[in-house]
């Protein structure tokens, strides 16, 4: 079998080889581009899911607030007026003293209730901050 370059041209060998290599490259390039973006799609999918969950939680919070007994709501409103005076974060004893000065009855019980409902949250230093939207 002698080597015959004419036979390559006769059977369109050059064209088939060129087109074939091009198609293989194109296919794998397209696949690699899609794969390179796949992790972004997955992150978006997962973060969208988290965002949706957060949105649902925020929408439910007014319902949570309105779901509380009226006494707690009233107590929270009273104590919230003390925050601009005492500043944040604050020591719980100072908050209790201020509440007592302002005529709020049984401040220890009410502060305990506010902690249970999540209005008062302790930080790392042992002081407290007021949280309007968070429930414990």
């Amino acid at each position: 079998m002698p080597f015959d370059f004419e036979a390559i041209s006769t059977h369109n060998g050059w064209a088939i080889a060129f087109v074939g290599v091009t198609i293989v490259f194109t296919g794998l390039i397209c696949l690699s581009v899609i794969i390179s973006q796949l992790h972004k799609l997955v992150i978006f999918w997962e973060s969208k899911g988290k965002a949706l969950l957060t949105l649902r939680l925020k929408k439910r919070q007014p319902a949570l607030l309105s779901g509380l007994p009226p006494l707690v709501q009233e107590t929270a409103r009273h104590f919230r007026t003390l925050i601009p005076i005492i500043g944040q974060p604050f020591a719980l004893e100072d908050f209790r003293s201020l509440a007592a000065q302002r005529g709020i009855e049984v401040p220890e019980y009410n502060i305990n209730r506010l902690i249970q409902e999540g209005f008062l949250v302790e930080n790392r230093e042992g002081n407290f901050i007021w949280v309007d939207e968070k429930r414990g």
Binding site: L31, L38, V42
Partner: protein, 375 residues
Amino acid sequence: MEQMFAEFFANTGFALADYRYLLMILIGIFFISLGIVKHYEPLLLVPIGFGILVGNVPTFAGLGVSIYDEGSVLNYLYFGVVTGIYPPLVFLGVGALTDFYTMLARPVLMLLGAAAQAGIFLTFIGALALGFDPKEASSIGIIGGADGPTSIFLTAKLAPELIGPVAIAAYSYMALVPVIQPPIMKLLTTRKERLIRMEEPRTVAKREKIIFPIIAFLLTCFLAPASLPLFTMLFFGNLLKEAGVTERLATAARTAIIDSVTILLGLTVGASTQADVFLTPKSLYIFALGAVAFGVATAVGVLFAKFMNLFLRHKINPLLGAAGVSAVPDSARVVQMVGREEDRNNYLLMHAMAPNVSGVIGSAIAAGVLWSFML
């Protein structure tokens, strides 16, 4: 009575054999010993080698036991080869075994798998120049894909008379990858390049590994529909593996199914390689072209990696280009071996698996393209 003995003896293999059958039997024994003694691809070479022994036991015409005798047991088992059933089933197991993690982590390495497939088309041209017709040339060229099932699949469709020599050549060279590739890799790279360390791949999410086979299947089949049976099984097997809820099916695919099909495929391909088919000048050319195909594919892969480094900020080790030859996982192991000869702490195996598995996809695309052109 003496005449009865004489007639009986005249129909035995001893009377019917000539030097060609004996030569093929020696070749079969050689393949078996390569597998058992040298541990070169034993799961393939042992069945093929034994099949060669089976196919070259001379039988008289009309006995009806040869693989080419319609209705014989071997003929029924060979049905899966000539109709292209076995290769996709092997691909099912390959998909269930393959972890596309490193390919997903660094998709740019897929281009090395694409580059190595140029060996298929360059060998196709060489086969045309040697006088093979286009269908035969396609069957010979696909040897360069270093993918046994794909080679058998395409040859069964285009040139079934060449199944024996093509399969023997493909699997032999796959087994000899540790011998063929290293000299080419060292010739085309500098020591400095071989010392390049790859950056660690990113973490791949489980969801990506589940989505990938679906997207890859759709894209590759839309591009090369002729390879639908191969891609179906490859990506379905991978999905079974990654889904996490079909572990029983994945386990069946990568153990019982692939092992059973490998036995039948190897044995019948070997048995089809009979002396009058195999011992021809054509077979010698096929073997020569097969070696060229592997060498060219390795060289193109390595050179393309060096070309890519001209544009990449984080250089890739050009040895990885040799792993684009889709002899999974042998060519990736060869990359690891050659890399560690220069730096014992340079672990390239994980990174080499990316072009290695993308080469499987690339060779199947090439097969589909060639089949489309030959219709």
